[in-house]
């Protein structure tokens, strides 16, 4: 048992902080400050992705031979901490966090060579086509159909909650290739090398925060090559389960984001008047509430550090579900306290001021500008990537001696 606090690490921290202080453009910084979701404003986010790629820092969690950094656990955490301190836009998880690691683990050599370089350098953005109108928590019931036809599949059906599909140029998806046997057995995992195939239509869905983050994707006799299949036909469920480990955590740490949210809440509370006199930061109820949250975030950080270090906690079959549950509920609780700090300041709908580059001044503080959209958006965290009800079922199942 040892935690590295060597001077080299502090030199590394300084190097990272210097880069973050100098490399991002003003638009990238603005996008970072105005990020009110897991998914940062697209254009600036991808621009920042490319900057990080040029520095060699786009994918610290990837194996070194594929373009990872080869950093220690401490270095990865320092990187994440400095990243959040600088309020920079987080890179989008679908490409670097999901399909990239999946292809490294399970892709063919051809798929790796074709797709990994442009995932890493930020030329491509991949959408994740999983949920369907009738298949959310019960994902395995999905019915979007792919019929083999020569070297192709013909796809018919639709996907929903496909985040940023309207920005994507590629897509990975689950399709039904058989209705025989158990529902999990007839699913195939497909890579679509483009999203503008004839018969494909992408329609954005406006969310409660007023932004079109999610999409519906419709397939009407869409012909795609079978060479995009990952794994065997009808074995896509095991591919998807493998990928879910990346989606639900283990790859990158969420706690630095939460630390930063709470810091921002503290900064705002230090200025906002308390109805009990003084400022809100002096209010014992606020202190107790934020103290409890900070303690919970600290425990998550410990949990994440152990996991990234390969501790047995991360080999527990329920680890992804536990990680997702802890993380998503903390994001919601942090957003609740942020929104409480803003109070009536969060009630104005300010879509233009939130748009990067709009040059529209917010009505109140920048904190008040983001707290409500962040709160509304974060209601999704306990729903997406498998609802927390389903996660708890999965955790309980691993305890039943299964």
């Amino acid at each position: 048992m040892n935690i590295d606090f060597s001077p080299e690490l502090e030199a590394f921290r300084a190097e990272v902080a210097t880069f973050f202080a100098t490399a991002p453009t003003p638009a990238i910084r603005e996008a970072g400050r105005k990020t009110t979701s897991v998914f940062a404003p697209f254009q600036e986010c991808m621009e920042w992705h490319k900057t990080l790629f040029e520095k060699g820092w786009a994918a610290p969690h990837w194996p070194k031979e594929y373009g990872g950094t080869g950093w220690s656990v401490e270095q990865r955490f320092i990187f994440a901490e400095e990243y959040r301190k600088a309020d920079l836009p987080p890179l989008l998880p679908q490409s670097l966090g999901m399909v990239g690691p999946l292809l490294i683990d399970l892709g063919t050599e051809e798929q790796k060579q074709r797709y990994l370089p442009t995932i890493l350098n930020g030329d491509d953005f991949w959408a994740q086509g999983y949920s369907e109108p009738g298949s959310g928590s019960d994902l395995a019931s999905l019915s979007c159909r792919a019929e083999p036809d020569g070297d192709d599949y013909i796809i018919n059906g639709s996907k929903i909650w496909t985040t940023y599909a309207h920005h994507a140029n590629r897509m990975f998806m689950l399709v039904r290739t058989s209705t025989e046997g158990k529902k999990q057995q007839g699913i195939t995992f497909l890579l679509l090398d483009r999203v503008d195939y004839p018969g494909m239509e992408i329609r954005p869905i406006v969310g409660l925060d007023g932004f079109p983050e999610q999409c519906e994707v419709f397939f009407d006799n869409v012909r795609v090559p079978q060479s995009g299949r990952v794994g065997e036909e009808n074995d896509g469920w095991s591919v998807a389960k493998h990928l879910l480990k990346h989606e639900r955590g283990g790859g990158s740490a969420a706690s630095p984001t939460l630390v930063r949210y709470l810091e921002r809440a503290r900064e705002a509370a230090a200025i906002i008047a308390s109805p009990f006199g003084g400022v809100l930061a002096d209010d014992p109820v606020f202190q107790r509430d934020i103290g409890e949250l900070e303690a919970d975030v600290a425990s998550l950080a410990h949990f994440e550090k152990l996991a990234i270090s390969g501790h047995s906690i991360a080999r527990d079959p329920s680890f992804p579900s536990m990680n997702k549950t802890i993380n998503s509920e903390l994001v919601q609780r942090a957003s609740v306290i942020m929104n409480q700090v803003s109070g009536v300041g969060g009630l104005a709908r300010q879509l233009e001021a939130l748009r990067v580059g709009s040059n529209v001044e917010p009505l109140g503080s920048e904190f008040d500008l983001i707290s409500m959209p962040l709160y509304l958006n974060s209601r999704a965290t306990t729903i997406y990537a498998g609802s927390n009800e389903v996660q708890r079922d999965l955790i309980a199942r691993t305890m039943a001696g299964a």
Binding site: S141, G345, L347
Partner: protein, 377 residues
């Protein structure tokens, strides 16, 4: 009836026949003319609210209802308002009823200065709308927090400071403004015309679809007649208490809608081959929603009866605002969770109910403020 209760006079928590008639006629009108699609079309239009709906509220007598008969009103009670306000919540009404009638109108009616009483007739007929410029941005939970200053100047006063979340503030004909007489004096109320020099209005729409404004007062000069009350703290507390009760009735209407819509969804939406409402985690969530709604309804009804009886205290209002704020958010968050992704779309009404409940909680002291205040004694 149980023998134990025989011979005791029971408290009456039912609406009178007249109140039921009023409630039903408002509900009928809104059911017919204010469905969610019509409401969304109104919110996305350039109009701050529907003039037609406002006229109909005047026709139904809602605008004149709370004012006393000798001021040209109908002399209605808080119970009368609670009877129909739940429909406002069910339909997510964006018209400025509480701000123009229950707050600004009630403040003019409470004035000891008769020079401004003709505004009541205009408000009650729907001819004019008033804004209530009270909130200063940090959640103005009680009048003691007002910082805006009124300095005597010549025959009148000069107002300086900033007000936020003035509902209908950009479109109102007149503003009722709370300001402190000098830095440490009592809070007074003033009437300021919409065209007064020195008003700097930033208009916006709230997350729950209402027209609002932040208004900066740069040395706005008003005459002596503009003063409604020289020491308004007590009157303000009473006026705000009534407004909180009516807004709470709206909130309970929204909670009622969320409960029934969510129960219906959970019983029709199937996953794993069965309605999701049959899963224990969802079933228990629904049960908790129902328990919260029932407590909220009980507290609304009891508190309205207390207010009707003139026996209400600040503590009762804190119980009311704390509980309804907290339970509204819990119900809204559960409704979204059970609806899954759909609950997060702008297209479905569920999230819009939740936004109304968020707005209810944030105004006039959030649940955390009121619950702590109860604990202080």
């Amino acid at each position: 009836m149980h023998a134990l209760w025989q011979g005791l006079e029971l408290m009456d928590f039912s609406f009178s026949q007249e109140q039921e008639m009023l409630r039903d006629s408002v509900a009928r009108y809104l059911d017919k003319n204010y469905d969610f699609d019509a409401r969304q079309a109104l919110v996305s239009s350039a109009a701050p609210w529907s003039a037609e709906v406002w006229n109909q509220f005047a026709e139904l007598g809602l605008l004149a209802l709370p004012f006393s008969e000798d001021q040209g009103g109908l002399g209605g009670s808080i119970g009368d308002c609670v009877a129909f306000a739940q429909s406002f919540g069910k339909h997510l009404v964006v018209e400025p009823y509480v701000s123009s009638i229950m707050l600004a109108g009630a403040a003019i009616a409470a004035s000891d200065n008769t020079a401004n009483l003709d505004w009541i007739e205009k408000l009650a007929s729907g001819e004019a709308v008033a804004g209530f410029a009270y909130e200063e941005g940090a959640g103005t939970a009680h009048p003691g927090l007002i910082k805006m200053v009124a300095e005597p100047s010549g025959d009148g006063f000069v107002l300086s400071g900033e007000k936020r979340l003035v509902l209908a503030g950009a479109d109102a004909d007149i503003l009722v403004v709370a300001a402190r007489m000098g830095a440490a004096g009592p809070v007074a109320l003033f009437l300021v015309g919409k065209d007064a020099d020195g008003l700097n209005v930033s208009a916006y729409t709230t997350i729950d679809g209402r027209s609002a404004a932040n208004i900066r007062f740069d040395a706005v000069a008003v005459g002596a007649d503009a003063m409604l009350l020289a020491d308004a703290s007590e009157a303000l507390e009473q006026i705000i208490a009534k407004a909180i009760i009516v807004q709470g009735a709206e909130a309970v209407g929204a909670m009622d809608a969320l409960l029934s819509l969510t129960a219906e969804y959970a019983m029709t939406r199937k996953q794993f081959g069965t309605p999701i409402g049959t899963f224990q985690s969802i079933a228990h969530r629904l049960a908790d929603m129902k328990i919260a709604y029932s407590k909220a309804l009980a507290t609304l009804t009891y508190t309205a009866a207390l207010a009707n009886s003139g026996a209400i205290t600040a503590r009762d209002i804190s119980v009311f605002k704390g509980q309804l704020g907290k339970m509204g958010l819990a119900i809204g968050e559960s409704a979204i969770q059970i609806h899954g992704g759909l609950g997060l779309t702008d297209e479905l009404n569920i999230g819009h109910y939740h936004k109304r409940l968020l707005a209810f909680d944030a105004q006039f002291g959030d649940h955390s403020y009121h619950l702590r205040k109860l604990g202080q004694r």
